[in-house]
């Protein structure tokens, strides 16, 4: 078991530009079952020797029974690509694209409300991986190792950092989910914490947040109400970020004095989450916590 993706994932890729092709190839090389591509104007051709390309997601889904899609469509077309996937009934959509206008995303979210079968992960995220089974995104596969730590994060490279620390500590990951750095996104920390809680393979959870918004506070509320009983270690990036400045991610901004790392860290601590102050201590904090709780996550 794992969450969101695994051996049964039949992956589609939308947007076969240079970037999309590089990562489609990376996913296929990792062993993911990449069943089709969608790129308007390239329908009827094949890429990566064996992967058929279709004009629309509906055509691709009908022909290949794809059950997940990753999107590399450029920013101004990405919202449409997400809606097309949802309309075609694809249950899992990971949008990798960075730079989608926020108002486009508010419309997408509204559109998805009428299509509750589709889960959107991202946008502006590295995707989802279940080590050893399925890589759906841009993360470097080799830093991961199958195991029992579930990781969820708003960042890309900082997730790799955490994954690498976990792997070097001799542990592995059940699944890793990047929920993205944009202000308006699909799947939240709360959603993923719930999934990890229900997942038999996951024994502990690492959550990596950052300044801006209140997704971390929502996660703290969930833990506080006792709905997450597995040990959770959190880290919040941007403790030294100045207010009013967007720190790279469109959603990473302290506005009106709110969304600071300090607020988030204290909300999480008050809810019983173990917070690592330093980004270098994420895995070691988890190892200590597991020892304290006498949980074997190896």
């Amino acid at each position: 078991m794992s969450i969101l993706v695994g051996k049964d994932t039949r992956l589609l890729v939308q947007g076969l530009g240079k970037y999309g092709m590089v990562h489609a190839e990376g996913c296929k090389a990792y062993g993911t079952n990449l069943v089709a591509g969608v790129h308007p104007g390239k329908g009827g051709t094949k890429v990566l020797d064996t992967v058929p390309v279709f004009e629309t997601v509906t055509d691709a889904a009908r022909a290949t029974e794809a059950n997940a899609t990753m999107i590399y469509v450029p920013p101004f077309g990405a919202a449409d690509a997400i809606m097309e996937a949802a309309e075609a009934g694809i249950p899992l959509v990971a949008c990798i694209t960075e730079g989608i206008p926020a108002l486009d995303m508010t419309r997408v979210i509204r559109f998805l409300q009428d299509r509750p079968k589709t889960r959107l992960v991202g946008p502006n995220c590295p995707g989802v991986i279940t080590p050893g089974e399925c890589k759906m995104g841009i993360m470097p596969g080799y830093i991961h190792k199958p195991g029992h730590v579930g990781i969820v994060s708003r960042s890309g490279t900082l997730t790799y950092e955490a994954v690498w620390q976990v792997t070097q500590a001799g542990l592995g990951q059940s699944s890793c989910v990047g929920i993205g750095g944009d202000p308006v996104n699909g799947t939240s920390f709360v959603d993923v914490l719930r999934l990890f809680q229900e997942d038999a393979q996951t024994k502990a959870i690492i959550m990596i947040g950052e300044i801006g918004g209140s997704a971390e506070e929502d996660a703290a509320d969930l833990v506080k109400t006792g709905k997450v009983t597995k040990p959770v270690v959190a880290f919040i990036g941007g403790q030294t970020a100045p207010p009013g400045k967007r720190m790279g991610h469109a959603g990473a901004i302290i506005s009106g004095g709110h969304g600071t790392a300090k607020e988030k860290m204290s909300a999480l601590r008050a809810a019983g989450v173990t917070v690592a102050d330093k980004p270098a201590d994420i895995a070691s904090t988890l190892v200590r916590l597991l020892e304290e709780k006498r949980i074997d996550a190896r």
Binding site: P75, T106, L158, G213, K245, A252, K278
Partner: protein
């Protein structure tokens, strides 16, 4: 992206939001002509900078007893004299920081007989993932403070992004603002609907009127105007992109933007070059825990080329405050050998006057390290995040 008040008012007029007559001037002569053309008294002279608190702000050149950034003039001659005192001078407000901003333009506008000052804004509510219209009868003051102390004085209405603001919502907001039922409330509701349309159609991230006024003769209009726009959408709004004012940006940040790098100048003395925004923030945090202070936030991005890395390095070294540099790369999409080549190229071009600590991990890490080792450059290597931070802080203190 931020814009000036006079630009936001141009957008307002385009969407039919009532705004007092006014125009912008760049010289004292021009200011006098514009003031005369308004044919009113008094005339308000407003310094145009990208920062709030202008009225209470003061000019460095004129001291605390001198004029603020918003001044009344009784006739065009006086408007000219005031404009002369503002143009080319440095205005310091609570939002500009101590260094202030040089005023390059003034806006001249008709003075109004104000009966009431109200607050109106459209912002993105991240929690409900929709824009919201926020109104209060407490206009002309700091809305954050109102929200903190007397939240009941604020009414919010969520905007359905597929539909825009509904008529009944606009009326509800207008009545909450205490506008007189009938013509006045209808005018207010119309203004609110126009403001939401302006926000949605320009991909704004903020549209604020503080204050929105009711004049003594009962008219509702936008006395001030503030708009911010979503950087991700600017390319599809050339008319908004044309409002960009490079005078209001840090030169290093402008350069970084042109290179498609994400860069923010900070107060410390340790330069940072990192890939990924999250890791870049975490690197800053780590430097602070090691006892140092970051000089910048810099995300070179996922698909950076050797040339981009070179340029990024140049920007970091261009800051005189930088005493040491930390390069922290976790290669995923980004390959460590590409980063290494960029660092070497930059060092050869610029010469390394400060110590550089390099931490590489991930894709092509061995190749990257080998390139750096064979380059003959004096670099220090670190294997983890903690070690990298300690080494760079020590280097910043010890010099070379």
């Amino acid at each position: 992206m931020n814009v000036h008040e006079f630009q936001a008012k141009e957008v307002f007029r385009r969407f039919g939001i009532p705004v007092p007559d006014g125009a912008v001037a760049e010289t004292a002569d021009q200011a006098e002509r514009v003031a005369a053309s308004l044919k009113v008294s008094p005339i308000v002279v407003k310094a145009q900078i990208h920062a709030g608190g202008r009225g209470k702000g003061r000019f460095k050149e004129h001291g605390p007893q001198g004029p603020g950034g918003v001044v009344l003039a009784k006739d065009p001659k006086e408007a000219r004299a005031i404009a002369e005192k503002m143009l080319g001078k440095t205005l310091v407000t609570k939002q500009t920081g101590e260094h202030g901003r040089v005023v390059k333009k003034v806006y001249l506008t008709a003075g109004c007989d104000i009966a009431r000052e109200l607050y109106v804004a459209v912002v993105l509510d991240r929690k409900i993932k929709k824009p919201v219209v926020m109104v209060s009868q407490a206009g002309g003051v700091d809305i954050e403070e109102v929200a903190e102390k007397t939240p009941e004085k604020i009414l919010k209405e969520a905007v359905d992004p597929l539909f825009s603001l509904a008529g009944f919502q606009a009326r509800r907001l207008a009545l909450f603002l205490g506008l007189k039922p009938g013509e006045q409330a209808n005018e207010g509701a119309k203004l609110l609907k126009a403001l939401v349309r302006a926000y949605m159609e320009t991909d704004a991230s903020l549209a604020e009127i503080n204050p929105m006024i009711v004049s003594k003769d009962g008219k509702v209009m936008a006395l001030d105007a503030k708009m911010n726009f979503d950087d991700n959408a600017l390319e599809r709004h050339p008319e908004i992109l044309a409002y960009r004012d490079k005078n209001e940006e840090e030169p290093a940040e402008t350069l970084a933007k042109e290179l498609d790098l994400s860069y923010i100048a900070l107060d410390g003395d340790i330069g940072c070059m990192v890939n990924g925004a999250g890791l870049a923030m975490a690197t800053m945090d780590m430097i602070k825990y090691a006892g140092g202070a970051p000089a910048n936030f810099l995300d070179v991005g996922g698909g950076a080329t050797e040339q981009k890395v070179t340029e990024a390095f140049k920007i970091i070294l261009s800051s005189p405050q930088v005493k040491a540099v930390l390069v922290n790369i976790f290669g995923g999409i980004m390959r460590c050998d590409v980063v290494a080549a960029g660092v070497i190229a930059a060092a050869k071009k610029l010469g390394l006057k400060v110590p550089v600590v390099v931490r590489l991990e991930g894709a092509k890490v061995q190749e990257g390290k080998k390139l750096l080792e064979e380059s003959g450059l004096e670099l220090e290597f670190a294997s983890g995040l903690a070690e990298a931070a300690q080494k760079v802080v020590a280097a910043s203190r010890g010099g070379k």
